[in-house]
Structure formats: C-alpha cells, structure tokens
C-alpha cells in the first residue's frame, strides 16, 4: 500500500521523538546525565505536551488562549486527589495503573472546564476567548487557593476556606498539596508526548482537522461550505484542555509539593512563548522550543552571572531558526504544517 505523504511525515516525527527518548534514557541509565538535568526530564515532557496542545488552539484553530496553565492546575490537583483516593479508598497499589488513571481523571476534569468555557465564548466572533481564558486562569488559581481536600477512610472531604476537615489532608489551601506520592516517571511522560502527537497530528490530517483550519483561515467561506465553526473550535479547545490536564496530573505527581500559585498567568505566558517561538501552527517547533527553554535555566546554572544573557541569546536564536525560510521548509518536510502565516514554501 502506498502511504500518504502526511502519514510518512507523522511516522518520521514519531521516529525522531523515540530516538530522542532512547538517547535520554541511555544517558540516564549510564549515569552520563547530571542529576540536576535528570530532574528536568518530566517537566520537559510536561511542557512539550503543554506547548503542543496550546498550539492546537493558537496555531491550528486560530484562537488566542491565555489560561492554558489553568487547565494544567486542574489536572494537577484532580490528578493528585484521584491518585490518593485510588490508593487510600480502593487500595490500588500498582503505581503505573494509578498514574495512568489519575492522568485520565486530570484530563477529564480539565476537559469539562474547557467545555464550560468554550460553549458560551466560542459562539462569539472576536478575541473574547483571550479575555475569558485570562480571567479563568486567575479565578481557578484563587479558588484552588481556598480549597481544602482530605481523605477520611474511603470518604473524600472538600471544604471552602475552612482547613478543619476530618482525615488526612491532601490539598491544604494556599499551602497546596504536600507529601504527594511521586509516582510519575520519565517513560510515562514520553508516552504522553507520543499520545499527544498521535492525537494532534491525526486530528489535523482528518476531516475534522480540515474543518478546524478552514474555520480559522476564512470563517465566512467555511460557514458557506456548511461547517459549524463553533463546533470545530470547541473540538480543538477541549482536546487541548484535556491534554493540558493530563500533563498537569503528570506534573503534580512528579513533585513532592505543589501549590496553585505555581500556575499563575506567567506559566500560561511561558507556554505561549514556547508556541510563538517555535512558530505558530508549527508542532515540531513547539516541541523544540519547549524542550530547549525548559532545560536551559538548569544548564546555564554553571554560567552564574551570565545566565540571563545567554538565555536571551538562545531565545533569539530559536526565533531565528524556527522562522528562517530554509529551516521552515525543512520543518515542513519533517512535520506537515499547513499552518497560518506560512509564507515560506510556495509549492506543496
């Protein structure tokens, strides 16, 4: 059977990610990788998933979202609670199964919130999504700051602004979650990246993906072709929220303590920076930018005073590389990117 060009491209991108994983895993097991860098492996996976999923909203469906960290934080806390409940109430000891189930719970909760925001906002024309997601990120952080969760035997207790609840405290308001079961692993993070790429790339190269991009490129023409624009914008937005929730759950269970304050506006903007630097609509660029800029502060620790200077230089380099026409043409060959603002490759 002759494979389609997009299928071949997808296989190549999967291959590159798998090779990168094998290299990292070998470096870890042979002890070549420094300890500090080893601790960065899960955050790298998390931020790659965050960047790729945000790119689905910003690049592929053409809507600006400024609250992606909000979905991540929902995933973090619902994942941590789910994990503790599965262990405490159901006695599920297997860490891998517990991790995966918690990630599914995290994704589901984030998806529900995504739908709740998307249903009213995506019906409107204009940049309302940016404003509402910005507010959502702040509101969810402040609400989480006031929420207390505890597990009393099999029962889950929730209270608002009142720390005195029975049982062992899981989430302690502004102090966040403490003594989290650190069950997240790098291989699972890698699998989450593959899952994200699988979902996003297959979505783009399907009937639904074409409808999403049609709605982005020319709303009036898309509607004249019978495409329900709101429905397809929702599809992209909720899918991205689910993926961010799953990444959040993984992130939560890789840290001993997490507080809601971590997921403020800055984090949403950081992920947006990855997307913009990697090239809007360019999935491959998002992966590189997220990976590079997440490890960079750690790698530059040795340079002490010059750290921020070098960080700035690398930012500019990433921007130049991902927006250079020849490099873009190369990326287009590697990853199908029928994205917006694609001025480079004329022929397809």
């Amino acid at each position: 059977m002759k494979l389609k060009k997009s299928t071949v491209n997808n296989l190549i991108s999967f291959g590159i990610v798998i090779i990168a994983f094998i290299i990292c895993q070998t470096m870890i097991s042979t002890g070549v990788m420094k300890r500090s860098l080893r601790g960065q492996m899960i955050p790298i996976c998390v931020y790659i998933v965050m960047a790729v999923s945000l790119n689905l909203v910003v690049g592929i469906s053409g809507e600006l979202s400024l609250g992606h960290a909000g979905f991540m934080s929902i995933g973090v806390f619902s994942g941590i609670i789910a994990s503790a409940w599965l262990k405490g109430a159901l006695g599920l000891e297997n860490e891998l199964i517990r991790l995966i189930l918690s990630m599914i719970v995290g994704g589901a909760f984030a998806g529900v919130f995504g739908a709740l925001i998307g249903i009213p906002v995506l019906r409107l024309r204009g940049d309302y999504l940016a404003i509402v997601t910005l507010a959502f990120g702040e509101i969810i952080r402040n609400v989480l700051n006031c929420l207390y969760f505890s597990l009393d035997g099999r029962h889950l207790h929730v209270s608002f602004n009142n720390p005195s609840i029975p049982g062992t405290i899981l989430v302690n308001g502004p102090n966040g979650a403490k003594d989290v079961d650190k069950i997240a692993t790098f291989p699972v993070g890698f699998v989450l990246i593959l899952f994200t790429l699988f979902v996003v790339l297959n979505l783009i190269n399907s009937r639904s993906g074409r409808a999403i991009m049609a709605a982005r490129d020319n709303r009036i023409a898309a509607e004249a072709m019978g495409i329900n624009v709101t429905k397809y914008k929702m599809m992209a937005f909720v899918t991205a929220a689910v993926l961010a929730g799953m990444a959040g759950a993984l992130y939560g269970m890789s840290m001993a303590t997490v507080t809601a304050a971590k997921f403020k506006f800055d984090t949403s903007i950081l992920v947006l920076v990855f997307v913009v630097l990697g090239g809007i609509g360019n999935i491959w660029g998002s992966i590189i930018a997220a990976a590079l800029l997440t490890v960079l502060p750690e790698l530059l620790r040795a340079f002490a005073d010059y750290r921020m200077l070098i960080y700035a230089i690398v930012l500019i380099l990433v921007m130049l590389i991902t927006n250079n026409p020849t490099m873009r043409a190369l990326f287009t060959k590697l990853v199908p990117r029928r994205g917006a603002g694609q001025k480079g490759g004329e022929a397809l």
Partner: protein, 285 residues
C-alpha cells in the same frame, strides 16, 4: 447531444411578470427558490427592497445591475450571511427564516464570492474536500484513531474531489497550493468547492471577473454543462453581458436595491428602462 441539452434548446421562456422568470420545463416542479418582499436596511440605507424572485429547478438565472445596486447583498441575504429586515426566502420548500449560513447550505444553497475566499494555504484538493465536509462524513474519534471509517472516508473524499475537479480539467492541480493558482483557476476552484456541497441552487458572484475572453467563453460552456450534469439551478451576478446574455435563461435587473426588470435576455436587451439604467445605448455596428 444529450437529452437535456436538446431540451434546453427547445425551451421557450415564459416570463411571469408577477413572479419571476421560470423556464417552461420547470413549470410542473416546485421552484427551488422563492424570495418574497425581501429587503434589508443598513442604518437607514435600504440596500435591497421588495425583492421578489422565483427560480425554477434547473434554471440558469442572471442578476445584473450597476455597481452598488445591491446584487451581492441579495446573495448575502439568500445565504443568510445577513438576516433580512423584511420578507422571506423559501428554499426547496423550507423557510429560511431564523436559520444561519450553515443551515442554509445544508438545505441546498451554495455560493462563490466576489472577492475570492479560498483556503489559500491548503491544497486545491483540500479546498474541495472541505466542500465535501457534509457529504462524506466520519467522526473526530474515527479520524484520530485511524479506524476503518477514516480510510474509507478519505478514499471517497479523494475520489470525489478529483471527479469534481475534472469538470474544469483541474485534477492535475490537486496537490498545488490554492493561493498560488492563477486568478481564473481560483475562480473555477471556488465553483468546484461550492458544487462539492451538493447544492440544488448555486450562486456565482461575478464568476468571470478577471478572466480573459477565452476563459470566459469556456466558463460559459461549463456553467451550462454543470447545470445539465447536476440538474441544479444556477444564479449568477455578472458584468460581462456576453456571458449573461449567452447563458442565462432568465435575467433580473437590479438598480438602487430594487428590481427594475425581469425577463428573457431578448426582453432585457430591448427594455428601455434597463438600457437607461444599466446597459446604455447600443453602439453602432
């Protein structure tokens, strides 16, 4: 010569002053479109007023008039891009009142745009596939998981898209970026994309604009061919009188938002009001 072509040549036009412009062959089937007292105001400006028109099942109708007469606005009203402030539109017996553009398209009305609105960064084939969106379906989950329905749907879309492109002999351009096509080809692609939505009424807004005389000639033949092949009604806005008079069976003339004349090409050409308002005096020779 096909049955339908012969039938078309034998058709005698029956102008119906109180209604619209219906060719005889459509007399016994219900009309595809009925617009009654249609009108819209933009902040006091009556862009279209008391627009009445009936289009037969397989009629080719023309909508002409000077610049700013309200022709494109009529298309926007029929496709529900604008909600009319007065009157009603019936499409295939369904009242379009309260419906949106998407629903109107699903009921069988498709259009092209005066200022071309292609998906420039997508391939020619993908543009047509977007037109096929509601014709060959499979769900999001099927698409992501690459279930058998995905492969079947993609194959059908691919074959149907090439078949539709072959109307204008464009099947070899399937992999070309739509935005890099020459102007004339972009106009043709818009027609193919609109046809892909399986309409019963196709609205063409200045399809020959920017085309050379040879291309226009070809387009004229293709418009008739499309009607015969798909058995649909076509309404076109055009400033090229050779095309309008050559291909349209009924013509409706608009001036300052109002219909000033309806009839066959011959009647329109000899109508003094139309000559005064739009066509101008015939040149000698």
């Amino acid at each position: 010569m096909s049955e339908t072509t012969r039938r078309r040549q034998n058709t005698k036009m029956v102008p119906a002053p109180s209604h619209g412009i219906i060719p005889e062959r459509d007399l016994y089937s219900s009309p595809v479109l009925e617009a009654r007292h249609l009108g819209i105001e933009f902040g006091g400006l009556k862009a279209v007023e008391d627009f009445n028109l009936i289009i037969g099942r397989t009629e080719i109708a023309g909508l002409i008039g000077p610049n700013g007469a309200g022709k494109t606005t009529v298309f926007n009203l029929l496709t529900k891009v604008y909600q009319p402030t007065m009157g009603s539109v019936m499409l295939n017996g369904h009242d379009l009142n309260g419906l949106n553009t998407v629903q109107a398209n699903k009921l069988g009305i498709a259009r092209t745009f005066q200022n071309i609105r292609l998906f420039d960064n997508m391939t020619v084939e993908d543009n047509v596939r977007i037109g096929l969106h509601n014709q060959i379906k499979y769900g999001m989950f099927t698409g992501i998981c690459r279930l058998p329905g995905y492969w079947k749907g993609e194959k059908q879309q691919h074959e149907k898209a090439l078949e539709l492109l072959s109307i204008f002999d464009m099947q070899d351009l399937a992999k070309v970026r739509a935005g890099s096509l020459p102007y004339g080809a972009q106009r043709r692609l818009e027609i193919v994309r609109a046809l892909a939505t399986n309409p019963s009424l196709l609205l063409l807004d200045e399809p020959a604009a920017g085309m050379n005389p040879h291309e226009t000639e070809e387009l004229m033949n293709n418009i008739a061919k499309i009607r015969d092949q798909f058995q649909i009604a076509i309404m076109l806005i055009e400033h090229d009188m050779n095309l309008v008079m050559g291909v349209c069976e009924g013509i409706c003339v608009l001036n300052y938002g109002r219909i000033i004349a309806k009839g066959t090409p011959d009647e329109i050409q000899s109508n003094p009001t139309v000559i005064e308002a739009y066509l101008g005096k015939k040149k000698e020779g």
